[in-house]
Amino acid sequence: MADTSEAPRLTFRSYKSDYKPVWCPGCGDFSVLNSILKALTELQVKPEDTAIISGIGCSSRIPAYTSVYGFHGVHGRALALASGLKLARPDLTVLATGGDGDGFSIGGNHFMHACRRNVDMTYIVMDNQVYGMTKGQASPTTAPEWEGSKLTPQGTGINPFQPLAIALAAGANFIGRGFAADQNGVAKLITEGVRHPGFSFIQVLSPCVTFRPEQRDWRDIVRPAPVEPTSNLSTAGKRLMGDDGFNTGVLFIGNRPSYVAESGGGTDLAEIEKSFAL
């Protein structure tokens, strides 16, 4: 992170853009946006040295609502684009954001491999267990019996995806869960995630008030995880497989070094070309 000792302190407003979000009133993503802005303020990274990369979905609209560099890419590929950016420009602070459909369905393969690759960046998924943008279809985290979608009127009948357990198995170096309405809690998770080396994955339960109004009740269910964060894989695995999806906080802190692309430099191209000489 850049040395900001002499620069004036950046405020919440320095990270906020003047665009008005397109979200429905009451959408959890408003809170997540605030948490991201709070985290950036806490981190004091310069806006120009920070980038937020997203895919497609309601939640993927976030970059434009901040004043940092951003890329609103195609559906499902945010992590790949963010990885390329961070590998090519290791000096930047890179965040990726999106929804559960974007990240776990169409982008599921990239999710697994981003965890595995462990590039130093932070991925925030606003999980609302539904495809908001396309008006309410089941996502990989939707319960099998949910009958609210015209596409799967009998429910999907298939088991939901366990993002945190999968992240752990795939090698993410920091795993946390937050609840959107707990803005400070989520901001703290993001701050810690960014500070922690390697790939940090933060699932934020972010209600879709339009297509999953019952998710308003999440506020009564979520609770801080009753245990301290662990760096032990099997302890974390047991906890994640055993929990009901509503324990919040840092759930795993790994100690793998970040992946960086090999780049020595210092050789003249003419020198390389000599290998082709007869």
């Binding site: 560099y69 195609v74 990239h110």
Partner: protein, 576 residues
């Protein structure tokens, strides 16, 4: 000269054998030895379906000048054995002027061979090799072939040294003995017109494949970030780049798939680093959605697409030009972009470097088309000249106020800010946007940005590199890519009949260069279109973009067989 080679001073040799017979090694050594004698040449390898080993063939063509393609027929075929030779025979045209050298103990000469009328020389290859400890018939063959075509012992010796030097003196000694024994065997046979004249050649020459050329073109052009997912026949581009990018301070990452590799490259480029990926048909298909993202967000990125037989998994190891349509028209939406095509092994460097330059200058994604026959052919070429084309992106001026990333400019190119630049933050977007980058669905914003993205390409001066144009005449061949070499040779064959043929090979497929093309075909009354596709993709492309003369013929042939000069010549003959 034999009738097999109308290009003066070239000799064509096919080497075949079962797995482990070492025909590819022998072929490589033969090319290297010819190079040591001051000559040029190339080798195309062909293998069976096995992942590793299995029967293979090496097609060698040598000459006193640079050789760009295989000829019409082989002067000599050297077969270590006859195992599965029928898999290759369609690729090895022989005539009664050809000489087939085989092992006397390998059994009956297959009918497909005798039917060609070629002379057969059955020699004791295995037996001779067995007389030397560790001896191998492929090295006996190297000796026979070197003797037949007149490559001196020192030239072969130098090659053995270079290739086997590391394996120790025993391997060297046995190979040397086999080569000498081969020379002795060759005393009993002869073949007319295959003598390769040794050259006094002080040109700086390289031994290099088209895939390596493309990789080098990327580096010379300034590419410093590459994301890779392996696919035949493009993998060597990436494998060459991996260590060499790092040496010049760049980096390569292996992605989980092509959806990732193209997006990683876009991410690197968004970060201000000229970025690239290489793939082949199936991978290109996967990349297309995100290629459109690069286009809409005006993030330069280059894909080198080394074509193979398609559709679907197709014929991974063999060449075809059938990705033309996807490369030019493969995106959804109105998507003006750059598509270029290399015209020879050497040109893989020029075209790639030029394309990197164009992509960066126009902030536009670009596809470089090469193919298996260019990419995996190893050739002896003169060292390519240094080119002035390097990546140079127009970036936001320092102190810019109220920066607008997608400002509507006269050239269509808007200065780009790069992360790290204060006052330049913006969100790159694949959603249609206004000049600030804000998503919009308004008609005016859409047409402004469509116009701007089109204008970049319409107003840019691509110069003379849009095509290679040779000769003059009322008859013209219009072609592209790896068909250029055979087409050029066909023009030479026609010239020998007294017919002047103009050759136009397009290097820039998109954007179409209408004025330049019409100018180039002024006075042309008859046009022969030459391409390696089944559905005449190139001909249809030409018809879509250009006015063609009334008298047009199309010579199209799908892969995997190469387009031979003589077949093109036949088409011209019917006009003369």
């Amino acid at each position: 000269m034999t009738k097999n080679n109308t290009l003066t001073d070239t000799v064509s040799i096919a080497l075949t054998g079962s797995g482990g017979a070492g025909v590819v090694t022998a072929g490589q050594m033969l090319v290297q030895a010819a190079a040591n004698a001051g000559c040029y040449g190339l080798m195309v390898r062909s293998s069976g379906p096995q992942i590793r080993g299995g029967e293979s063939a090496a097609y060698v063509r040598l000459g006193s000048d640079q050789v760009d393609n295989l000829g019409d027929a082989f002067d000599i075929m050297f077969a270590v054995d006859w195992l599965n030779v029928e898999r290759f025979i369609a690729e090895i045209p022989l005539s009664e002027n050809s000489l087939v050298i085989c092992d006397a103990e390998a059994g009956d000469v297959p009918d497909v061979i005798t039917a060609t009328g070629a002379k057969i020389a059955a020699l004791p290859l295995q037996k001779t090799a067995a007389e030397t400890k560790g001896g191998r018939p492929n090295m006996v063959g190297l000796g026979i072939l070197a003797a037949l075509i007149g490559i001196a012992d020192e030239a072969v010796e130098g090659t053995l040294e270079k290739v086997l030097g590391r394996k120790g003196s025993e391997a060297m000694a046995s190979s040397r003995d086999c080569v000498h024994a081969g020379r002795e065997l060759a005393r009993d046979i002869s073949q007319d017109g295959v003598t390769l004249q040794a050259q006094d050649n002080d040109a700086e020459r390289w031994t290099i494949t088209g895939n390596e050329m493309a990789g080098l073109g990327a580096l010379r052009g300034g590419v410093r970030f590459v994301a890779a997912y392996p696919i035949t026949p493009a993998t060597e581009v990436l494998e060459w780049l991996a260590p060499n990018l790092a040496k010049v301070g760049g980096s390569l990452v292996q992605a989980e798939d092509e959806l990732a590799s193209i997006n990683m490259a876009i991410g690197g480029s968004f970060g201000g680093i000229p970025s690239l990926t290489a793939t082949s048909g199936p991978g290109l298909a996967l990349m297309m959605e995100s290629f459109g993202l690069a286009l809409a967000s005006e993030t330069p990125v280059v894909i080198i697409n080394v074509m193979r037989g398609g559709p679907s998994t197709g014929i991974p190891t063999k060449s075809e030009q059938s990705d033309l349509n996807i490369a030019v028209y493969g995106m959804h939406g109105d998507a003006p972009h750059i598509t270029t095509a290399a015209t020879s092994v050497s040109d893989c460097l020029f075209t790639t470097q030029w394309t990197v330059h164009l992509a960066e200058a126009l902030q536009c994604p670009a596809i470089v088309l090469t193919d298996q026959s260019l990419g995996q052919t190893r050739a002896i070429v003169n060292k390519p000249a240094d080119l002035a084309f390097i990546a140079k992106r127009e970036t936001m001026a320092e102190g810019t106020e109220n920066y607008r990333r997608y400002a509507v400019t006269a050239s269509g190119v808007s200065p780009m800010s790069i992360p790290g630049m204060a006052d330049g933050t913006y969100v790159a977007d694949g959603l249609e946007h206004n000049p600030r980058g804000t998503p919009t669905s308004q008609a005016e914003d859409h047409s402004d940005q469509l116009d701007k993205r089109q204008r970049k390409l319409d107003t840019y001066d691509f110069g003379d590199h849009w095509a290679e144009i040779l000769g003059d005449g009322e008859t013209a061949i219009v072609t592209w890519g790896s068909c250029t070499g055979p087409a050029r040779e066909a023009c030479e064959q026609a010239a020998a009949d007294g017919l002047d043929v103009k050759l136009i090979s397009l290097r820039l497929l998109a954007p179409a260069q209408t004025d330049r093309f019409q100018e180039a075909i002024k006075g042309v009354k008859r046009m022969l279109v030459v391409e390696q596709t089944h559905s005449q993709q190139f001909y249809k492309y030409l018809r879509a973009h250009y006015d063609l003369p009334d008298d047009v013929k199309v010579f199209n042939q799908p892969g995997p067989l190469p387009v031979r000069p003589g077949l093109v010549h036949e088409q011209l003959k019917s006009w003369s």
